[in-house]
């Protein structure tokens, strides 16, 4: 079996046993999310259980491409289980982690790990090639450690008498050797204390943040999973894999020495094959640093530093604490000036350099390390801290106030504030007891939820989760999220409005006419490729069948190619690519080229999309069994009643008055009634019951999911079959 190792590890923590699941039994699902959903469906008989129920099953899945040279697909793993974070119901949900855990798991001979049950006391799982131990945490005093301490203790334990920096033999009974440290997934104190916004951390900067999976592990008394492997991943056609990678490099990326400021910016936009190791960080990079990449990636998106503070953290972790201190804002501004001058080849900025050095903010990097080490979801804090600040300014929160707390608001922007906030959360102390439940539930405990979701003071725009991209503007993001289980965090269509916005702002002119730009996307969006208005985000098209097709395609593409084959979100789909001929990115051709070279399959891009539809339907069936109904699929009031603040800042291609043009979008809200009509259109398109949103038998059976329809029917959750609208 090429790409796959052929077996998955099943760990029952309750009775401390392990077993093997044959990958072949689930290979039809492709990998990653597809296999995870299928196993979850089979093993969890009652889908209405809580995330902390021992019967909850977590799957940690690789893809056949994990651990290979497949471009931008060698690193990620997919975690799935019933979560704890979403509101009002914590859905069966997912999260993804990069780094090297997935590759190491496959080198150990496992395509995935399935965790079920709960241990009677804290344990960790020690995987060394095909040998597995479930060990008590007590021996290494792991319970209570932060994620860094935990990983370091495990590294030392696994090395035994060996030492890193040399070859080690993980199994004394074997002569297999490696120079690598074990790859460890670990929870911090937040997960141990069942904090709903807790993460699972790997190495220094890889986090499974969404879903509250840290607490799912905490409820199972599972502190860590460590894996070290010395084995193989078989590749069907090694020469084809080499050639595919070389083809991708030559045709879809800029050479390293071609870098300039513009290319650097374009080639590091989300959903664009990365050419340069320019990090995705929201602090000025200290000069003594290097880029750092996930396994097999051609251009890392994070950094390591000569003080090791903030190593490998990027994106949300790097940015959640950046706007509270003028000194930091000023330092970042100076840093950006220096970087611009550097990029222009202008040297000799000693005054600026000295100024920057004096202002150099380490607070953001320290804050990033705090959330990584204690295992807290930075995305919640990004929107939660402003909420606390606003409540404090309103006189509602503070010492002796209606919501009493000793949080040092006068130190907001300094590390002391974050330290205290983290401390009260993980100790569930004072309002930390409330925040540990997530900011939406905290607002409920404070009697403020309804009001603050009316005004938007609590900026949680879908399923009680912090707003990421605004659903009033980024339709695919907002609709996709409310029709699924979590902030989708899929940047697939960001360039659609980012590129016109940036070029418009710079006055450089658009690279393509609006219609050509739109079709560059939609021509590959099978099976809806004849409808360019899928990417028309203008006011007149917000609730159309075209946008329903966009959402459907997006859900299908990501469910297979991104969540199951595990192509990196930052790089795929690559529709518009500045380095490519005619801006025609790799998507459509690249994904199956790599998949087939590794697996020996002959899967087309369209077949991957169709498999994504099957996985998406299975997920919706699981949510239906959990209790989802169309009536729950609603945005909070402020999304309908308050215009977004983005007027004039977003541009996108639009078809207006019989012609395509670039138009500004932004300052608008969602119409309740029209969104309800949109839901009906969408459910019809998917073959789901328009009254309930539940899948219909005919739809499921057409996908080979008759057994899923049976379970829905047994539970009274099967949609009523009606003739589908084409």
């Amino acid at each position: 079996m090429y790409g796959y190792t052929g077996k998955m590890l099943r760990v029952n923590l309750t009775d401390r046993t392990t077993a093997v699941i044959d990958t072949e039994a689930y290979r039809q699902w492709g990998g990653g999310h597809g296999i995870g959903s299928a196993i979850f469906f089979d093993l969890v008989k009652d889908k209405t259980i809580s995330g902390i129920d021992p019967a909850n099953v977590m799957t940690i899945m690789t893809s056949p491409l994990t651990g290979t040279l497949a471009f931008g697909a060698g690193a990620r793993i997919e975690l799935q289980a019933i979560g704890l974070q979403a509101y009002p119901l914590p859905w069966f949900t997912r999260s993804s982690v990069g780094g090297r855990f997935g590759a190491m798991l496959k080198f150990a001979g496992w395509d995935g790990v399935v965790i079920e049950g709960a241990a009677d006391k804290p344990v960790w799982v020690d995987i060394r090639d095909d040998k597995v131990w479930i060990r008590d945490c007590a021996e290494l005093s792991l319970w209570g450690t932060d994620t860094m301490q935990c990983q370091q203790a495990i590294w030392t334990y696994v090395a035994g008498a060996s030492c890193y920096g040399d070859w080690i033999t993980p199994l004394p009974s074997s002569s297999s050797r490696t120079t690598q440290r074990p790859a460890v997934l670990a929870i911090g104190p937040a997960g141990e204390r069942l904090v709903r916004i807790s993460s699972i951390i790997h190495d220094s900067g890889n986090a499974s943040g969404q879903g509250g999976f840290g607490a799912v592990w905490g409820s199972k008394n599972l502190k860590a999973i460590s894996v070290i492997g010395t084995g193989d991943i078989a590749v069907a056609d090694p020469k084809a894999l080499f050639e595919a990678r070389q083809w991708a490099i030559e045709n879809f990326t800029f050479p390293l020495d071609a870098i300039d400021a513009m290319k650097s910016m374009w080639a590091t936009l989300p959903s664009n094959l990365r050419s340069f190791p320019v990090p995705l960080i929201f602090w000025k990079k200290p000069p003594q640093s290097r880029p750092q990449a996930c396994f097999g990636c051609q251009a890392g998106c994070r950094c390591r530093y000569d003080d090791a503070i903030g190593n490998d953290s990027s994106c949300k972790e790097s940015g959640f604490y950046q706007f509270y201190n003028l000194r930091h804002v000023a330092a970042n501004a100076v840093g950006n000036v220096i970087a611009s001058l550097d990029a222009a080849g202008k040297k000799g900025t000693p005054v600026l350099d000295e100024l920057y050095d004096r202002m150099l903010p380490t607070t953001q990097r320290q804050a990033a390390d705090m959330v990584q080490r204690y295992g807290i979801n930075a995305g919640e804090l990004e929107k939660g801290i402003p909420y606390l600040r606003d409540l404090n300014k309103m006189g509602v929160m503070g010492p002796g106030k209606e919501i009493n707390t000793d949080l040092p608001f006068h130190k907001l922007g300094q590390i002391e504030f974050v330290e205290r906030l983290v401390e009260i959360i993980i100790n569930r102390e004072g309002i930390g007891e409330d925040i540990a439940e997530g900011f939406t539930r905290a607002a409920g405990r404070w009697g403020r939820l309804e009001e603050d979701l009316k005004t938007g003071l609590l900026n949680c725009s879908y399923w009680g989760l912090p707003m990421h991209y605004d659903p009033r503007v980024s339709l695919e993001w907002g609709y996709g999220t409310i029709l699924s289980d979590r902030d989708i965090n899929e940047h697939c269509f960001n360039p659609l409005y980012m590129i016109p916005m940036i070029t418009s702002f710079m006055g450089t002119g658009q690279p393509l006419p609006a219609e050509a730009f739109a079709r560059l996307y939609t021509d590959r969006m099978v099976p809806f490729q004849d409808d360019p208005r899928m990417v028309d985000f203008s006011d007149d098209n917000m609730y159309s069948e075209s946008v329903a097709r966009l959402v459907a395609w997006h859900r299908r593409y990501t469910r297979f190619w991104k969540h199951s084959a595990l192509f990196c979100d930052l790089q795929y789909p690559d529709f518009f690519n500045w380095a490519a001929q005619g801006y025609h990115g790799i998507t459509g051709e690249g994904e199956p080229k790599f998949f087939n070279a590794v697996t020996g399959a002959e899967m087309s891009f369209a077949e991957g999309i169709e498999l994504g539809r099957k996985i998406w339907n299975l997920d919706n069936a699981i949510w239906s069994l959990q209790g989802r109904h169309r009536d729950m699929v609603k945005f909070p009031d402020y999304i309908h009643d308050t215009p977004s603040p983005w007027w004039g800042t977003f541009y996108c291609p639009a078809y207006t008055n019989g012609a395509w043009e670039y138009v500004p979008i932004g300052k608008r809200s969602l119409d309740r009634e029209k969104f309800e009509q949109f839901k009906t259109i969408y459910y019809q398109l998917e073959g789901w019951d328009t009254t309930t949103g539940w899948p219909m038998r005919s739809t499921l059976e057409s996908l080979g999911l008759g057994y899923v329809a049976d379970e829905l029917e047994r539970n009274g959750k099967l949609g009523k079959d009606v003739e589908r609208v084409s």
Binding site: G67, T68, L69, R100, F107, M148, Q149, Q152, A153, A159, C163, G165, D166, W167, S175, R177, T178, T179, Q180, R181, G205, T230, G231, D232, I233, V235, P238, K239, L241, F242, Q246, I249, L256, D257, A258, I259, A261, S264, F276, P277, V278, P287, Q288, S289, R290, P291, A293, C294, G296, C297, Q298, A299, G300, R304, Y305, D306, A308, N311, A339, D342
Partner: protein
């Protein structure tokens, strides 16, 4: 446990000592005079006509070189079979967080000298590359023990029961390129950071290994350090 307390990552005890380095690594040994063993060996050991150079400070830790090496030679992805190794500690300070190591094709090749069957030999037909004739290897492991560097540059193939080492891609049946001293090397070709290069000149050596700096203008534009005068210290290659 403190942030950087772990003493066994790149700690002095695991590095090649200056004495070890001078004893085994190359041209310096010729000048200073070495043990009889080494001197004798040198007399019959023509220098290799090609060397891999790695700039550890430019490595991003993606392991692409390791994947390329094992895939080109073995048709499989296997870190343990890669003849070039990248070691890293994500909690360490730059530049001590990553160590990229390659076979140095030593002037006095201890691995060759230790081999009792002639499997590990100097290939005079291909630029004097120090390489393993796998059909002759009896799996005794003496070459692995003999390598003076830490970690050793000779790879142990458990499944085949033989030793393997960098052959400058002479034998890469799973890659459509011609390797060897005059050809392409998979790790060089696939490294996305261009942190590995190849030279036909005997490299300048320091205790940190073969000296090289591949961090050019593009590195500076991205704001990464390019010079050796920083507080970033070289590590053993």
């Amino acid at each position: 446990m403190s942030l950087h307390s772990e003493k066994n990552f790149l700690s002095p005890s695991t590095r090649v000592t200056r004495r070890d380095f001078l004893k085994w690594s190359g041209i310096v040994v010729i000048g200073v005079g070495a043990s009889g063993f080494a001197a004798k060996a040198h007399a019959g050991s023509p220098a290799c006509q090609g060397y891999l150079l790695v700039d550890t400070k430019k490595c991003q830790g993606c392991m692409t070189c390791m994947l390329a090496c094992s895939l080109a030679h073995e048709g499989r992805q296997n870190l343990s079979l890669s003849r070039i190794q990248v070691l890293q500690n994500p909690f360490e300070k730059y530049p001590h967080d990553i160590m990229q190591i390659q076979c140095r094709q030593c002037i006095v090749p201890a691995c060759v000298l230790s081999c009792p069957t002639g499997a590990l030999h100097i290939d005079h037909d291909y630029g004097n590359v120090r390489r393993v004739e796998e059909s002759l290897c009896n799996g005794c492991g003496k070459c692995i023990a003999a390598c003076p560097h830490t970690p050793g540059r000779t790879v142990w193939n458990v499944a085949a029961g033989i030793a393997q080492k960098c052959d400058l891609c002479l034998n890469t049946p799973h890659w459509n390129e011609t390797g060897g001293p005059d050809g392409k090397k998979a790790c060089v070709a696939m490294c996305p950071m261009e942190a590995i290069t190849f030279t036909t000149q005997i490299p300048e050596q320091t205790e940190a290994g073969y000296r090289t700096n591949l961090r050019g203008k593009s590195w500076a534009i991205m704001g990464y350090p390019t010079d050796e005068s920083s507080n970033a210290h070289s590590v053993v290659q």
